[in-house]
């Protein structure tokens, strides 16, 4: 067990080192930051001053060491476009993304499991069939079209919900939250549905197929023969045994939610890290891109690591076979 964990941790560090190398190469070789910051009208002195300020005049190994040292301390230099510390900008944007991702994840998990159980128990019912066929459309619609569709329906036509932004936010010692104001909550509804829909359908279909599998097993038949209530059978006996693969998928999908937040945030002009990243790509703002890349890799690698180790705890067969 210990060697399995150590190997997984080693792999994770390797992934992070590779990503770090990519991030540093971006700094060093991509674009000319001077070009991006100064534009057409510039003097030689301007260029030299800026080069010194950004450390671009130092030799390659020095820059590399400076980058590694900075990255570990969370220091990614100054944004080419905004002229502010990247870490400061990211910290300012993080609460918006994390709140959106968390609400979407909770929504996807609760609704996904509930609908999955329902469609499995009433497998031939009209409502269950309707939910299943609608979910097919949900899977094939691209995220941004779902967002636009919701905006058109609930903001343009019905005028019930805001179509962009976070609404009013409350500052809780550096963490801004929209969860405490009415307009903040209203603004959260459409983006979180857009972001969570795909994951919800995924969880729903998985829970459904696992439930159908489990409901065929002998111990369920015995439980019925013993005269246990349907409720007890479905939730105490069946659902519990479907949860192992569901937990894995949920874990892995958390990373995907954070990545797909980029698209949702752009559609709804949600002031989070994803929108920041898209703007950074448009303006080739390398420090912001690199920092976002590092941050999101740490999140992904940590999630994958936790899921793998959890899984090995739950299912002992994996401890030896893991490659």
């Amino acid at each position: 067990m210990l060697s399995f964990m150590l190997r997984r941790v080693g792999q994770s560090i390797l992934v992070l080192l590779v990503v770090g190398l990519v991030a540093f190469s971006m700094f060093r070789f991509v674009g000319d930051p001077i070009d991006n910051m100064l534009g057409q009208e510039r003097t030689l002195e301007d260029i030299e001053r800026l080069e010194q300020q950004l450390g671009l005049d130092r030799p390659f190994p020095v820059q590399y060491l400076r980058f590694l040292e900075g990255a570990i301390q969370g220091n990614f230099g100054v944004s080419y476009r905004q002229g502010r510390e990247v870490s400061e900008i990211l910290l300012e944007r993080a609460p918006a993304t994390l709140e959106l991702a968390a609400v979407s994840a909770v929504l996807a998990i609760l609704l996904g499991i509930a609908l999955g159980v329902y469609t499995a128990i009433r497998r031939d019912g009209f409502v269950a069939n309707f939910i299943m066929s609608t979910s097919l459309i949900g899977v094939s619609l691209p995220t941004f079209l779902i967002g636009i569709l919701l905006i058109y329906l609930f903001s343009v036509e019905l005028n019930w919900l805001p179509s962009f932004g976070r609404g009013e936010v409350v500052d809780l010692g550096g963490w801004t939250t929209g969860l405490l104001t009415a307009s903040g909550l209203k603004s959260l509804i459409l983006p979180s549905i857009t972001l969570g829909l795909y994951q919800m359908t995924l969880i729903m279909r998985l829970v459904r197929s696992e439930m159908l599998e489990v409901l065929r097993q002998d111990y369920i038949r015995f439980a019925r023969a013993r005269g246990l209530a349907d409720r007890t059978i479905h939730f105490r006996h069946a659902l519990k045994n479907t949860l192992v693969p569901v937990v894995t998928i949920i874990g892995l999908q958390l990373g995907a939610i954070i990545a797909f937040a980029i698209i949702t945030e752009t559609v709804f002009q949600w002031p989070g890290m994803g929108l920041l990243f898209i703007n950074a790509i448009q303006f080739v703002d390398i420090p912001v891109m690199a920092a976002y890349l590092m941050l999101i890799s740490v999140m992904f690698v940590a999630i994958n690591l936790i899921v793998d180790i959890l899984y090995a705890f739950i299912d002992p067969r994996l401890r030896v076979a893991g490659k």
């Binding site: 792999q11 390797l14 992934v15 590779v18 990503v19 971006m26 070789f29 991509v30 674009g31 070009d35 094939s140 619609l141 691209p142 995220t143 941004f144 079209l145 636009i148 905006i151 058109y152 343009v156 179509s163 990373g255 995907a256 990545a259 797909f260 980029i262 698209i263 752009t266 990243f277 898209i278 950074a280 790509i281 448009q282 080739v284 390398i286 891109m289 890349l293 999101i296 890799s297 992904f300 690698v301 994958n304």
Partner: protein, 313 residues
């Protein structure tokens, strides 16, 4: 040396028509309909210059007075009729969709071919040689798989855009897009080809080819490759649907096809600006086209996967 795979044309056609795959195709309504829709869309994209009523990118043919004409209604100023209406600059939406679909399909197909070639080559190398080659290629694949492919594509687009000099960025955008989507998608191909190659490598015909002194390169390309192609075909079809959606997503986010060469995603991005003022058709028709295209290719891929899966027969 005679080429045994080359059979005369009529025999080959007969063989295709008699095959199990064609029978499965003929008898599946989903496959027939999605193939028809796909063919229809591809043909209308290819022959766009013949079908489109105007060339939307020729400034001489545009009349700003025609802007915001609703579909099937004569314009208030010029009295001209447009099947699907016009956008803010008076461009015929029907024509922009045809030309946009051309770009979407071109990017999608080229990106998938690029990913396929890269994946096949790396997969063959990894599976055939094993050892260090295998470790390096597959570790790289693992690292990339840690991230969703759309994120990888965004990142590659950003880096490639940074490397291109500013004055070429708009012209190069389409190629950068193909590179980004292609590079984000090779892992699937490499994994499947590697697995199949490792199985094929142990078979007698490969040993025989070795024995008569065929070079490794020839064994990989001429002998092993034809035997691992059918799963590749399935992945390619499904990848095409995903690539079309990925392209549309990137272009919609403003990091893909530029407004001078709009793809369906760019058209949706443009259309979104006018949604609030009630000009729904600028967004609605490109979105429907994108959906029809992605859905039919996807269904075709799903069907192909089931039809080629020996376990389901």
């Amino acid at each position: 040396m005679t080429d045994v795979t080359e059979t005369p044309a009529p025999t080959r056609l007969r063989r295709i028509l008699d095959s199990d795959l064609f029978y499965a195709f003929r008898t599946s309504p989903v496959a027939l309909i999605s193939a028809l829709v796909t063919m229809f869309l591809i043909l209308s994209a290819v022959f766009a210059p013949l079908i489109a009523t105007t060339n939307p990118f020729d400034p001489a043919s545009l009349n700003l007075m025609n802007g915001f004409t609703p579909p099937m209604e004569p314009n208030a100023f010029t009295g001209e009729n447009f099947l699907l209406g016009t956008d803010d600059q008076g461009r015929d939406v029907f024509s922009t969709i045809l030309y946009g679909m051309r770009i979407s399909l071109f990017v999608g197909v080229t990106a998938v071919v690029f990913a396929m070639v890269l994946g096949i080559v790396l997969g063959l190398l990894a599976g055939y040689f094993g050892g260090w080659t295998d470790t390096i290629i597959m570790r790289a694949a693992d690292v990339q798989l840690t991230f969703p492919s759309i994120l990888v594509a965004m990142l590659i687009f950003g880096i490639a855009k940074g490397i291109t000099p500013i004055e070429y960025r708009d012209q190069m955008a389409i190629w950068v897009l193909i590179l980004a989507i292609g590079l984000s998608d090779w892992v699937q191909f490499a994994r499947v080809v590697r697995g199949a190659t490792m199985v094929e490598k142990g078979k007698d015909y490969v040993a025989a080819a070795h024995l008569i002194g065929r070079p490794s390169f020839a064994i990989m390309i001429r002998h092993i490759l034809p035997n691992v192609l059918s799963p590749v075909l399935v992945i390619a079809t499904i990848s095409l649907a995903l690539a079309i959606i990925a392209e549309a997503t990137l272009s919609f986010l403003g990091i893909g096809a530029p407004p001078t060469q709009p793809s369906l995603g760019t058209l949706i991005r443009i259309g979104q600006q006018f949604l609030f003022s009630g000009e729904w058709w600028i967004l609605f028709f490109p979105a429907c086209t994108l959906l029809a295209l992605a859905l039919s290719v996807n269904l075709l891929g799903d069907w192909l996967r089931d039809a080629l899966n020996p376990r389901l027969k």
